[in-house]
């Protein structure tokens, strides 16, 4: 589904990713751990194609095609979808409109919004005055509408209150077709800082992004446990 080869990325002239190698297979969910500022968000935004993230070396291959030079919207229409950690406010553009855009008019905004307890947000300017948790649910709402093959989630649980955590977990599981087994097609790349999302989601693999490179590929729960006990310092030493 997604192959990242020797990827170097600069943001405003500063090198953030320094030779990332990563592969996500069809139907697989990968958890990306990493300390603050390690470049996790940069990796996701580079895969989506945001213009601040300049690829200086390496390639991103999606569904067999190098997408380094594809505009964001082409990537979206090819099936890459993203939930941003801090999505921008777009005044005058309503949540309902975002659902229509993402689904190309094929989704019923009322129905989807009801599932995410966002009915009252449909006719509000997107992200304007939304709490952290509301933004996360609104991002998921747009993702369900888009129904992407590769789901990129940047800390989907941060800011979500306990009451809605079950709901968010359930929606992410559905997005990633966790209810299907052999026929599962959807893949996921999920950033988590706290690892909290693992209580709600079966992930296949985990890895740690450290100093702009991927290390420590393995069982996500074990990685999380390691980080909990020894912190990211250990990853530096371990260098697996």
């Amino acid at each position: 589904m997604l192959i990242i080869r020797d990827l170097y990325v600069e943001v405003s002239g500063k090198e953030i990713l320094k030779g990332v190698n990563l592969e996500i297979n069809e139907g697989e969910t990968l958890i990306l751990f990493g300390a603050n500022g390690s470049g996790k968000t940069s990796l996701l935004l580079t895969v989506m194609g945001f213009s601040n993230y300049k690829i200086t070396q390496g390639e991103i291959v999606y569904k067999g095609r190098v997408i380094n030079d594809l505009p964001i919207n082409k990537r979206a229409r090819m099936g890459i979808g993203i939930s941003l950690q801090r999505p921008p406010v777009v005044r005058g553009v309503k949540t309902r409109q975002m659902v229509d855009i993402a689904s190309e008019g094929s989704a019923d905004p009322e129905d989807l919004a009801a599932r995410l307890h966002l009915t009252d947000f449909l006719d509000r300017d997107i992200n304007l005055g939304f709490s952290g948790g509301e933004m996360k649910r609104s991002e998921l709402l747009q993702l369900i509408a888009q129904s992407p093959s590769l789901v990129l989630l940047d800390e989907p649980e941060s800011g979500v209150d306990l009451e809605n955590m079950d709901l968010v977990g359930e929606v992410i599981n559905k997005l990633l077709e966790k209810h299907l087994h052999r026929q599962r097609k959807r893949s996921g790349l999920i950033i988590t800082h706290t690892g909290y999302i693992l209580n709600y989601l079966e992930a296949d693999r985990g890895c740690v992004l450290l100093n702009g490179r991927i290390g420590c590929l393995g069982n996500p729960r074990e990685i999380l446990e390691d980080i909990r006990q020894r912190g990211y310092k250990e990853c530096v030493v371990c260098n697996r």
């Binding site: 919207n73 409109q97 855009i101 993402a102």
Partner: protein, 403 residues
């Protein structure tokens, strides 16, 4: 006291406080008279389509009454609802002796050379009135049309909502499609009586070389509401106006919404001023300005004269490319215990917003259009349905041309 005529004569060379000076005499003051039309649908299709762009329906469908002036001729007037009146100001002055008491009472005749010219060389204008308690079911519409090249058109309008009545008005000002030059001077005096309400939407759809100098003032009495929506999305050479509302009765309210779009070569100097001089009065001034190469000076001035008033001013500007937007918000508090605020922001479209919409599947161009459209969104303005629809149409037609 000096007579109005004298005051006007003294002011005939007086430049305006704001805006570039216009040589009025360069514009023709005479033109042929057009015949009166019983049925507006007999107008040629081109003129009708220009009117539609300014929110005017030649079919009069969904309108309570209509007034149309072409150059210096009133070509149609009529009202279909009891309790409302819409006729030319010239006929109204003949018909109602008392109308003199409202003439040049809100706008001073010697304000500048444009007010003076409108008095000394008047070319009609309209009179609209709702009787006490009458409520317009559909909007009334008034159209001021320039069909002759280089013409000066001086109109004077008086609008009165008597006690407890309600008026919805759409005014469309435009030129014939082939006309690029002209001067429009429009005096408008609004009187909102006790408990009355006026929703006034003005759509300007001028041309590249047209100069425009509206002079507008409103007096709002106790519990009255004045809602003004001003839309100018088409090119215009020079437009300067600074309408003012005086809230003189307790609990009176005024709200101004403006949507301005400056094309290359256009210069717009537009503001809204509210003087809150009675207790519990409220005002809101909202402007959305966009430049794709032209210049906009977006002014706003709130004056709080008594305790207990509340007023807010908001100006947002978007520079698409080049151009200039100069926001000048002013708050003037004259006593303690008032609540006045403003916010102003000028900038370009945030790349992050464009890319956010692109991540949902829109192309860069589509994303920009959606953001600009959202920026001009009138949903925020809480307009009555039919008026909102007119504005929507005007925005759409502008969008198609410029994006």
């Amino acid at each position: 006291m000096k007579k109005i005529d004298e005051l006007a004569k003294e002011a005939i060379s007086k430049p305006a406080a704001l805006g570039r000076d216009i040589a009025i005499e360069k514009f023709s003051q005479t033109t042929e008279e057009y015949p009166y039309l019983e049925d507006l649908s007999s107008l040629n299709e081109e003129d009708k389509s220009r009117m539609v762009e300014a929110g005017i329906e030649a079919s009069e469908k969904g309108r309570s009454g209509t007034f149309v002036q072409m150059d210096h001729s009133v070509i149609h007037e009529g009202c279909h609802q009891e309790g409302l009146e819409i006729i030319s100001i010239t006929s109204a002055l003949e018909k109602h002796d008392w109308l003199q008491d409202y003439f040049w009472k809100a706008v001073p005749v010697n304000m500048d050379k444009y007010t003076a010219a409108a008095h000394l060389a008047p070319h009609h204008g309209y009179f609209i009135r709702s009787l006490p308690g009458a409520k317009s079911i559909f909007p009334l519409q008034a159209c001021l049309f320039i069909g002759k090249k280089g013409l000066g058109q001086n109109v004077h309008n008086v609008i009165i909502a008597e006690e407890g009545s309600e008026l919805n008005i759409i005014t469309g000002c435009t030129t014939a499609r082939h006309i690029k030059e002209g001067l429009h001077i429009g005096i408008s005096e609004f009187y909102v009586k006790k408990g009355a309400r006026i929703s006034f939407t003005m759509i300007h759809s001028w041309a590249e070389e047209v100069m425009v100098r509206p002079r507008t003032a409103t007096i709002v009495e106790e519990g009255g509401v004045f809602l003004s929506n001003y839309i100018c999305l088409k090119p215009v050479k020079s437009l300067q106006m600074y309408p003012v509302s005086r809230l003189v009765g307790p609990g009176a309210m005024a709200r101004y919404n403006s949507i301005l779009y400056a094309h290359p070569g256009s210069h717009l100097d537009v503001g809204s001023r509210v003087i809150l001089s009675a207790p519990q009065t409220r005002a809101e001034v909202i402007a959305r300005t966009i430049s794709s190469g032209g210049e906009i000076i977006a002014r706003g001035h709130l004056v709080g004269e008594v305790p207990g008033i509340k007023a807010h001013l908001e100006c947002r500007g978007l520079i698409l490319k080049d151009g200039l937007i100069h926001a000048i918000p002013e708050l003037e508090g004259k006593v303690a215990d008032i609540d006045m605020s403003h916010e102003a922001a000028v900038g370009k479209i945030n790349q992050e917003e464009i890319e956010y919409l692109m991540a949902r599947g829109l192309s860069a161009g589509e994303a920009t259009a959606a953001i600009v459209r959202g920026f001009m969104d009138v949903g925020i303005m809480g307009l009555p349905g039919p008026l909102a629809k007119e504005i929507d149409k005007a925005i759409k037609s502008c969008e198609e041309e410029s994006l």
